[in-house]
């Protein structure tokens, strides 16, 4: 695909969005009430992620028990059919281990772990379909399912990716755009400007970094609002059912 088509002179991207538009964001919480303590399902464009949380519970191994805080374990599973070309993935692939460590370190910052000493919180992420924004959709799904599980948190962590096409920053990239452009993924705490996660794996001119980060933070704040709406809607529904 020629690079020029990624961002037309009229300011339209290949899927018709403008530079600062998010893809369609759908989320639902409490999708697996019988098999987990908290669950969520997130769709960012065509990327689909299911996240379930078990815990706080007794750790499976005594060695995992931490006396001051909760132990947090993240398991990522990417389906063979998640990408356009079917590809069998080993669970110990370097990239998946890196994502797993990143998510563990990110989520430890927002869960009040000191409230759950000697327990294990196990987070299972299943990626059904991947069309760009892998790390950000996993982070968002994880935040929602932790909220559903009732685990005490300081604030939301919302995450989005931003890419650079020549001089223009583009928000929320899909796979085609990710393959061609340099992009970074940020994780933002609540409505602040604080970054808990920043991952950039391609070359970007230093002067452009500020623009990219501010666009990413604005996008993350919008996502946080969308996630909050869903949590509030679900809460109202539950309240209604109680009465």
């Amino acid at each position: 695909m020629p690079r020029l088509e990624l961002y037309s002179p009229e300011g339209l991207r290949i899927d018709g969005r403008r530079w600062n538009e998010l893809r369609r964001f759908e989320c639902k919480i409490n999708t697996h009430p019988n098999s987990s303590d908290g669950s969520s399902y997130v769709e960012q464009g065509n990327s689909k992620v299911i996240c379930t949380v078990q815990g706080p519970m007794e750790p499976k191994l005594r060695s995992q028990m931490n006396h001051d805080e909760a132990n947090i374990e993240v398991n990522i599973s990417i389906a063979n059919f998640a990408t356009f070309q079917r590809k069998k993935r080993s669970k110990n692939e370097r990239r998946i281990v890196e994502l797993k460590n990143t998510l563990e370190n990110t989520v430890k910052q927002c869960i009040i772990t000191t409230l759950y000493p000697r327990t294990l919180i196990s987070i299972n992420i299943q990626v059904l379909s991947q069309d760009g924004g892998l790390l950000s959709s996993m982070t968002n799904a994880m935040t929602l399912s932790l909220i559903d599980a009732g685990i005490s948190m300081y604030d939301y962590v919302s995450s989005i990716s931003v890419g650079l096409f020549d001089q223009f920053p583009l928000l929320d990239l899909n796979t085609l755009e990710e393959n061609e452009l340099s992009y970074l993924t940020v994780g933002v705490i609540g409505k602040s400007d604080k970054l808990v996660m920043l991952m950039l794996e391609n070359k970007v001119p230093l002067d452009k970094l500020e623009e990219l980060i501010s666009l990413a933070i604005a996008g993350s704040h919008r996502l946080r609002d969308l996630m909050d709406n869903e949590v509030k809607r679900h809460g109202k529904l539950r309240l209604k059912n109680l009465n």
């Binding site: 890196e98 910052q109 300081y154 705490i189 970054l195 920043l198 230093l206 500020e210």
Partner: protein, 275 residues
Amino acid sequence: MSYHKEFIKNGERLNGRKLSELRVPEVDIGQNGELTISAGDTKIFIKISSEISKPYDDKPNEGILIINNDIDNDILSRIVEKSIRKSNALDLESLVISTGKICWIIKIDLNILNFDGNLIDYCILGIMINLLLYKLPNYDIVDNSIKLYNLDEKAPISLSILHIPICFTISFYNPSTIEMNLKSDEVFEISLFDADKQEEDLRDSYMVITLNSNKEIIQLSKLGGIPINSVEVLKLCEICYDKAKEMTQWIKDVVKKEEEKTSDRVKMLAAVDQR
């Protein structure tokens, strides 16, 4: 070690350096491809070797670069791969001798001899200096086979290095509680460059940034850990760029000095030969 943390919260370090001061590395250059880099008590031995082989089937016009390290550290391997391989610091296309048939494999072996903090930065620094100094043997293509010359028979070839990535690991320390850090806008984390082992054990999180003197960021990883204000991140990037410029100049000086030493040696040998 809470007294150590108090020191850092006051902006001072036990090793006497300033918060943004790096250690001065020493480079010990051995034979072609052997280099030991040490900074403080951190010591790393880097060996580069080369071999003739066939390129991969799906990349017939690129040579092969393999980076091994002897300790099983995921983070070190990932960042070295991103900084050097992914950024194309070494031009792989220049390693091809005959498209699809013959190419060079460059193998880089990292041996960590002593650890006193900040492995990632010094590994990358050592690898880049070693790559700049490394000489490939010259060759002739005879029929379909290759004849390699010794390094002193025919002038050896230097590797084609497109840019020099410099890496900085910045460690963060939270001067107050988690709640204040997350909710308040006035709490700023303390950041320090080039932590030694004690400082690494105490840190709350870290960020690794690789850039070059062309003002390009090669990679930036802040994978979780305490949240940092984005304004701080940008400020740190600017500081890193200034340091990267100095480092690049320092590397070029080291390389130049070493080349002059070898060319003096060559001139001496040539003089002896003539007699």
